[in-house]
Symmetry: C2
Subunit: 197 residues, 2 copies
Amino acid sequence: MRYPEYLLKLISQFRKLPGVGGKTAERFAFHVIGWSQEKLEEFSYMLSEIQEKIYYCDSCGALKDKDVCVLCHPQRNTDILCVVASIKDVFSIEQTRSYQGLYHVLGGVFSPLEGKFLKEERVDKLKKRLTLLNVKEVIIALDATLEGDATALFLKKELSSFSVRLSRLALGLPMGSSLDIIDEGTLCRALSGRAYY
Amino acid sequence: MRYPEYLLKLISQFRKLPGVGGKTAERFAFHVIGWSQEKLEEFSYMLSEIQEKIYYCDSCGALKDKDVCVLCHPQRNTDILCVVASIKDVFSIEQTRSYQGLYHVLGGVFSPLEGKFLKEERVDKLKKRLTLLNVKEVIIALDATLEGDATALFLKKELSSFSVRLSRLALGLPMGSSLDIIDEGTLCRALSGRAYY
């Protein structure tokens, strides 16, 4: 006995979520078909209204409240600008409470093998902002992956004509790790990037 | 910097899905806000239409296609009826292709500690069906958990006045398991329920 048509379609909707495979999608679908109409309508409405209710800052590209972008606020340190791949990365860095500067969201990384290229308008916007603002340092805060490295190299080239200091996040041992389980690559970068007392 | 109000609400919607905690809900939310309006509308529509498009069989309680319940079809073996807790269990048993009888979905198990009681109308319906149909054996196919056991005991009592044979799924070693990793309880049940050559 096969699943009814509608259930199959519902499962395929849930499979679109990141990290959700067939089994999990089935679990979600069987769960929601037991929900009340009210609960379903609420979820349904939230999804359909996303593009109406979620605002992006034209300048930094991060999420903002209806009118103001707190991240582009003049009270923040405009000497320093942090380039990140995604909106979520902004929140991750904000949670550290150790950064007060500006942000610039690229909206993706460079991954030619997957056919992903950088959004040109976001790179152009970055250059425009660097011209307009009096930024002294650009921190490239991208993932420590092949794609992150490629994107960082690309940005380095693109921004070479600007008189800004470029930096990237330190590579090294994550907190709480021990040397006997860490991979060679990380240990190698931790050695070469060692800090002097 | 906190998440915008709407994003928080969206995250709380995803948290309602089974097994989804804060981190996963955030991941889902950040993923869907990047979707096109068309993709969002599709998902949204699927959710709101569930109760219109998913049909339950009045008799067995499982899902059915619009008009007919293939599981209650007279071509199936009406001598035997399998009692399961949820709709999904029906599909799991059907997938084994080793059962041709009828089903009865209880829609839950007995779990007084969690304040969950059996749906009386489903138990009454079961009794009615046993009177109407000429069922010779009832297989209780519930989870091998405390709740499943309690429900099985309850059903055993409720159905004692019917002249049907009661059985429940075998308890024992799962396929591919080895004795040195199996828990005592399972091994104990596998011993007492041993099959003779």
